[in-house]
């Protein structure tokens, strides 16, 4: 069964959707979507490093994204630049450096489209193990820090005053985000991973009135997008990442008719 690339893609997609749901909700709640983008852009550098030095691609992306996240946390303390300017700076400098390094690697055949938009054909059994094991670890850690993370999302100072450690859980959350990007690049691609993170959650927000419900609905939305998107990409021969995200956005538009504007 694992020989069938469509089946492997489906298993990979299910794993990713289960993780993007809860993580994406925090990205939306904490207004971090541009931050997700920055981490994803820096993943290109990770991919190129992995090819140049022949190291595991997920590991290399995770290392580079985490590094960028840590640089960001550091810059926030040392400069007075606004958050979005800092993110733009990091996002595009890592993208540019990645592309420059790519220019040196003329001897390697390299499918940049696959990195940008995802490539289900390349998902192998190893990737599945990385996605499911990595995803399980991400979810477990998120479960551990859920309460302080949620409290500091609602009100940072309140959480800190009442003995939680918002600074630490924020840093952990950032690392989780880098890990998620590392395991899902192959499936969705670095240009679209933020879409996968936030669109199902945006849809879920329209239909829910409490945090847990929103998390569950965004997982369901993500799963639906994967199922329908993969099937459609197979039938009409389009690339998987963009098709999955397109399905997610269609679900979002449908959810607008049931929006709970009142709250």
């Amino acid at each position: 069964m694992f020989d069938d690339f469509l089946f492997r893609a489906l298993i990979a997609g299910i794993g990713i959707a289960i993780v993007t749901g809860p993580l994406g909700c925090f990205v939306v709640w904490r207004r971090l979507s541009f931050f997700g983008d920055t981490l994803a852009h820096s993943a290109l550098l990770g991919v190129i490093l992995s090819i140049s030095f022949d190291i595991n691609i997920s590991l290399s992306i995770f290392a580079v994204s985490s590094l960028v996240a840590l640089i960001l946390l550091r810059l926030q303390n040392t400069t007075n630049l606004a958050g979005d300017a800092l993110l733009g700076l990091l996002s595009h400098s890592s993208l540019a450096i990645g592309l420059v390094v790519l220019g040196f690697l003329t001897f390697i055949r390299f499918d940049i489209m696959g990195v940008l938009f995802g490539d289900i054909l390349s998902v192998n059994v190893n990737d599945l193990i990385i996605i499911w094991a990595g995803g399980a670890i991400i979810l477990f850690v998120l479960w551990l820090i859920w309460k302080p993370l949620f409290a500091s999302t609602v009100n940072y100072e309140l959480a800190e005053a009442e003995g939680m450690n918002p600074k630490r859980v924020n840093a952990i959350f950032t690392i989780l985000l880098a890990a998620l990007i590392a395991i899902s690049i192959k499936m969705v691609g670095l240009l679209l991973i933020t879409g996968m993170l936030i669109i199902p959650c945006a849809m879920a927000r329209n239909l829910s009135n409490n945090p847990k419900q929103m998390v569950v609905l965004s997982i369901i939305g993500g799963l639906l997008s994967v199922f329908v998107g993969l099937y459609a990409s197979f039938e009409i021969n389009t690339s998987s990442g963009p098709t999955i995200v397109t399905v997610a956005i269609i679900l979002f538009i449908l959810s607008l008719s049931r929006i709970r504007k009142k709250y």
Partner: protein, 249 residues
């Protein structure tokens, strides 16, 4: 006052930020079962002082000793983004695990039990303040820091909530640091007043502060009379250590 009644000791604390002192030279002690009130004009450093006491600033002058970890905080402003759907019942367990009964009891105390399943964004300003207060007391804290807890609450509600705050300090034997503008209502429940204006301009029992010259300059003769007027309803006052002393009038 015995030493183990002490909850927070702020010594000579100050905060220098963006080229100016937000507040300077603050000394205050919060002890079990007592209410300390911070008063002062806008920008006088009341919220800053409360946050210093809570340990929310890293680079302060002076020292803060906190002898408890069971702290509840009602910030001056809590804004909930639309993207974050939070019901009252979710908010109650934000930093603590509570039984259903404890949630109901706390909401009942501030008369908002009927709003339990409502979303926070549906609440009016006054209702929201009541929920904030309910969440803070549900935890049964040792130290309760209230930054203008009754803003937006109607007048009868205000009197009720101050009475409730007074009752909580007695039943839970917790120390309360209260920030407020409503001088006349606040004073009825306060054991010790710190009047701020960038520094501690005066402090002491309500009646002592009311007669202080600097206080009169800051708030005007009228509010001084208001406080003294209030004091006539009592047969005793407390000194800074909470002991009963004879009325000075």
């Amino acid at each position: 006052m015995t030493d183990n009644d002490l909850l927070v000791k702020v010594s000579d604390a100050g905060l220098y930020k963006n080229g100016k002192w937000l507040v300077k030279g603050v000394n205050l002690n919060i002890t079990k079962g007592k209410i300390v009130t911070l008063i002062g004009p806008n920008g006088s450093g009341k919220t800053t002082t409360a946050k210093i006491a809570l340990g929310l600033y890293k680079n302060i002058e002076g020292t803060v000793e906190r002898l408890t970890n069971k702290i509840s905080y009602v910030p001056q402003k809590v804004s909930i983004d639309w993207t974050l759907p939070v019901r009252v019942i979710d908010f109650m367990v934000l930093t603590q695990d509570l039984q259903d009964q404890e949630i109901n009891d706390a909401l009942n105390l501030t008369s908002v039990e009927h709003l339990k399943n409502n979303n926070l964004r549906e609440l009016s300003g006054g209702e929201f303040q009541r929920v904030l207060l309910a969440r803070a007391i549900a935890k049964k804290p040792d130290l309760l820091v209230l930054d203008e807890p009754v803003q937006g609450v109607d007048f009868t509600g205000e009197v009720e909530l101050y009475a409730l705050i007074k009752k909580i300090s007695e039943t839970l034997q917790c120390g309360i640091l209260l920030i407020s503008h409503d001088l006349h209502v606040v004073m009825s429940a306060t054991d010790y007043v710190v009047c701020l204006n960038g520094h501690v301009c005066c402090s002491g029992t309500p009646v002592a502060v009311a007669q202080n010259k600097e206080y009169k300059e800051l708030f005007g003769e009228k509010s001084s009379q208001l406080l003294s007027l209030y004091e006539h309803e009592h047969d005793h006052v407390h000194d800074s250590d909470g002991n009963i002393v004879k009325e000075a009038k």
